[in-house]
């Protein structure tokens, strides 16, 4: 059975209120076609787990770039991120009380997603010790002292959906990422119930050298042709 579906089919799977991980860093690596379609869907109340709120103004003259579209359309009610400074609409909607934002240190955020996808009970990191991060009870299980050094035990993160972007994706779902686009998508593909990859280029099985596959196809449920 082919994993390739249309962008409309992909968006049709995502219900109102879903928790959605989106790969990318300030828009770079966001699955732009899926986000476009989702932004037109009228759906909302999403919990968005994404490094950032992207930014207004994309490199190709986009008015809102990547996930910034979802925020601009007020489809997001809860954003879990590490940095939102480049998208002023995030702060504005927070102040209005319409958007809940939780900020987690970026390295912890990445590792919490990895833990969620790899069956680990949490992440013991020195990052955030002695800061207000310790008070984020939804994300921090405990402060632990190990051999005289303090660590935060951060909880694993998972989501209903992961939407990621790959430069070359073969028909089995094996993914090769170009440039700095793999960032969080690589781990998100392991940590969601349904994983949809937007392929800039769909290639034949075997075109990606077995050693150069970065996300094995077994993690990918559906492929959307992002180049079409």
């Amino acid at each position: 059975m082919s994993k390739i579906i249309s962008v409309k089919e992909a968006v049709a799977m995502i219900p109102d209120g879903a928790s959605i991980m989106v790969g990318g860093f300030m828009g770079c690596g966001n699955p732009h076609r899926i986000i476009d379609e989702l932004s037109k869907s009228g759906k909302g109340n999403f919990k968005l787990i994404c490094n950032d709120g992207a930014q207004p103004g994309g490199p190709m003259g986009e008015e809102h770039y990547g996930v910034a579209k979802l925020i601009h359309n007020r489809q997001v009610k809860h954003l879990v991120a590490t940095h939102v400074g480049l998208n002023p609409e995030v702060g504005q909607q927070m102040n209005e009380g319409t958007l809940k934002v939780d900020l987690i240190p970026q390295g912890s955020f990445a590792e919490m997603i990895r833990a969620g996808g790899s069956g680990l009970g949490g992440v013991l990191t020195p990052t955030g010790v002695g800061t207000i991060i310790e008070e984020l009870k939804d994300y921090v299980h405990s402060v632990q002292e190990i051999d005289g050094k303090k660590f935060l035990l951060m909880k694993p993160l998972r989501a209903d959906f992961a939407l990621i972007s790959g430069y070359r994706v073969d028909k089995l779902g094996n993914v090769w990422y170009k440039g700095s686009t793999s960032n969080f998508g690589l781990m998100m593909a392991t940590a969601a119930n349904v994983v949809i990859v937007e392929a800039d280029n769909i290639v034949e099985v075997g075109e990606i050298e077995p050693e150069n596959v970065r996300t094995p196809g077994i993690f990918v449920d559906y492929i959307v042709d992002g180049g079409a």
């Binding site: 934002v101 955030g128 010790v129 960032n183 969080f184 781990m187």
Partner: protein, 218 residues
Amino acid sequence: MDREYIKNFIIARAAKEIRDGDIVNLGIGMPTMLPKFLPENVKVTVQAENGLLGVIPCTKETYDPIYKVDAGATPVTVAPGGCFFDSCTSFGMIRGGHIDVTILGALEVDEQGNLSNWIIPGKKLPGMGGAMDLVVGAKKVIVTMEHTQKGQPKILKKCRLPLTALNCVNLIITEMCVIEVTDKGLKLIEINPEFTAEQVQEATEATLIISDELKPMA
């Protein structure tokens, strides 16, 4: 000194902290200017926490803004021998002590080397991004900033804003001076000859220990 001059002055001084072969992570803004102040015999590898090593500015030919940006979302590329990787790998590198130096700005620094640079409650909530991991993980943490903010000291007895990390700063470089964070407190080790030690202390809330070997900043 105008602000552009100040920035250049601070970063030129920061560049002297860099040794040939260092792996460095440069915060958004002023620190990214560092590479152009390095002498020719000092080669660094710039890491960007979104997953690049060997970051260099892009040219017209290598401009590829959809696929290749640095941690400030600026289109960049990597030098020959550079590479790209995911965020877990990147922060493993950072947290694991594989970055020699990180240089970043601050809102406040205090006597214990505590740092605040990510939030002004009720006013500004950009988020910490990778800063909390960087200052905990890098072998050496250098803060570059203007000495005061609208005349108010930023180098304090105790940080008042929420912290980025405890006891993490090694060196503070401003347009007035260079301060080393020691077990005993903040040690003034270099001073811009345009200022006196008294003037520096006046612009600083924390008590400075003046080094026996105080040098002119240059």
